[in-house]
């Protein structure tokens, strides 16, 4: 489970606020303890700031730079600038296009289905009733199970003679024979989609739940006085009240979907016939297994641009509707 939170305010707004508020004190004589406050303050900020600089800012800049070189993980040759060679190779690589297609397929199914199921679960346990904590715990159980364990478990259940096929056969009275899910290019991706939704829906249920509980109960009382049906209450009170939560859930699910890796790495290694390979899987395959850091950096850069693009588009779409 990866958290990809987003900042509340655009950084420019905060920077602008900083400029305004610090100017009036600039020409005054420093008050006692001013210097000490500066020194201890910066001393306290420094550890986190230096670590972020070293392990987020620098690798981000490095990744950008390395994408235009021929760097390898371990190589006696000096690193050389090669222009856009890596990108030319990337955009003519059919496996990369297949990976892009696969994550698009994954995202297009997972985003609506998972957010809808998560919302349904949140609505089911939103009101207090006897045993609400029990259901909340059960719904959340898959989330605390690591994706690696989940992948391993479902790999076992997806076998030809596995639990999924047995259940399908039992509940259809022997009509459905089931497939060899992970070894068939047609069913491998749908199989991964199903377990991914199963694992992560509880996570977004909690986010929906937080949104639901921020809607004032008075609105529902007023709607009930007006004789609004349950559907109308949902349509005209709940749904508009979830405006902010909605865009947050959409953005986080989409970014997680595009970054699909663990399940593929454990279950299929991109196969069969590249039907489940993903952008991150290709980056790891070239950067780690083949040690081509530069090529992997180029893939990572494309992934980052994609993530930025998606969040920009989604922010724009949700803003226009408001």
């Amino acid at each position: 489970m990866t958290l990809s939170p987003l900042p509340t305010r655009p950084p420019e707004a905060i920077a602008a606020a900083a400029k305004q508020s610090s100017s009036p004190t600039r020409h005054r004589r420093p008050r006692p303890g001013f210097l000490r406050e500066q020194i201890s303050g910066w001393g306290m900020i420094a550890p986190a700031a230096v670590l972020l600089l070293l392990f987020v800012f620098l690798p981000a800049i490095l990744g950008f730079g390395l994408a235009f070189t021929n760097a390898r993980l371990i190589s006696p040759r000096p690193v050389e600038f090669v222009g856009t060679d890596n990108f030319a190779r990337l955009f003519t690589d059919p496996t990369f296009w297949r990976a892009l297609l696969n994550v698009t397929y994954f995202a297009v199914v997972v985003v609506p289905v998972q957010s809808a199921l998560a919302l349904a679960m949140a609505l089911l346990i939103n009101k207090k009733f006897r045993g609400v904590n029990f259901f909340r715990t059960i719904y959340f159980l898959p989330v605390v199970t690591s994706m690696v364990v989940v992948s391993l478990l479902w790999m076992f259940m997806y076998r030809r003679e596995g639990l999924i096929n047995q259940l399908l056969s039992t509940f259809s009275f022997g009509l459905i024979q089931g497939a060899d899910w992970l070894n068939d290019p047609a069913t491998a991706m749908p199989a991964i989609i199903a377990l991914s939704i199963w694992q992560a829906a509880g996570f977004h249920m909690i986010i929906w739940l937080a949104g639901l509980q921020s809607i004032s109960g008075e609105l529902y009382e007023a709607a009930q006085l007006d004789g609004a049906s349950r559907w109308h209450q949902f349509r005209y009170v709940t749904w508009p009240g979830l405006k902010h939560t909605r865009s947050l859930v959409l953005v986080t699910i989409t970014i997680q979907a595009l970054g699909l890796f663990d399940q593929v790495s454990v279950m299929t290694q991109g196969g069969p016939l590249d039907s489940t390979t993903t952008i991150i899987y290709e980056a790891v395959r070239s950067g780690f297994k083949q040690q081509e850091t530069s090529y992997a950096s180029a893939i990572s850069l494309v992934f980052f641009v994609l993530v930025l693009l998606v969040s920009a588009v989604q922010r724009y779409l949700t803003r226009e509707k408001d």
């Binding site: 392990f55 994706m147 364990v149 478990l153 949104g211």
Partner: protein, 292 residues
Amino acid sequence: MNNQLLLRSAGTMLVRILFAVVAAFPIVFMLISSLKPDQQIFGDMSSVAAFLPIGNISFDNYAAVFDRVPAARFMINSIGVSAVTVVLGIFINSLCAFALSRMEVRGKRIVFSAILATLIVPFQTLALPLVWWVNQLPYFELDGFSLEFSKGWLDTYQVQIIPFLANAFSIYLYHQYFESIPKELDEAARIDGAGWFKIYRQVVMPLAGPATATVAILTFLPAWNSYLWPLMVVQSEELRPVMIGIQYFFQLNVSWGEVMAYASLITVPVVILFIAFQKSFINSIASSGVKG
């Protein structure tokens, strides 16, 4: 009318139970299968017995796991790496948030917005360049009385810890929480002659329990579950965390009972933590949603 209401609430309950069954059945299946010999797992699969602890029940699979895999070593590694990441992470991030929130430090707003800007970069983007980068970093080791110098952090404990200590989201959470604690408390402590670090340690941090619980959980889960990163940077068996251990089961003659035992072994501690600190878990996830 009353009947209709009753029917409706019964229907809702039925849907709730249906969702609960779907959420729970794979986990129950995993735990139950871990107690059965392989032959029985496959035999039970076509009936409800797959979910019941009946037949030949034993902990043999668990014993076999410890023979096949250095499971105890992996557990110790994961517990150690997660614990150090959580404890140092709480300290470093809360300290930074304290200065950004409660002290008049010149330039702090620019620093804070730079920190928040890192939230838009997904880890997967950084992972590959970061592998190259940590391999260039110098590494000092105190070996007895001589200082050993070597290049490259690959295949160490610190490569699993240090890059994940500072976390923008933890700083953000602490910052939000510190803003809600009255500043007058600091003033009072200052008049009593307390230094800034003393205020942090004795005034503000004791009041920030819920924020600390949230940060601890949000740091612990990815540390315990980490897979992509140790896969790339850890080669030696004695340094591996639990998730990498699953690779030991993809050899010939897979014993699925053992696989399920290992999967249960590395899942149950987290589930116990979750049930014990359920409220904090739920709050920590919800906190990633309140910022919308």
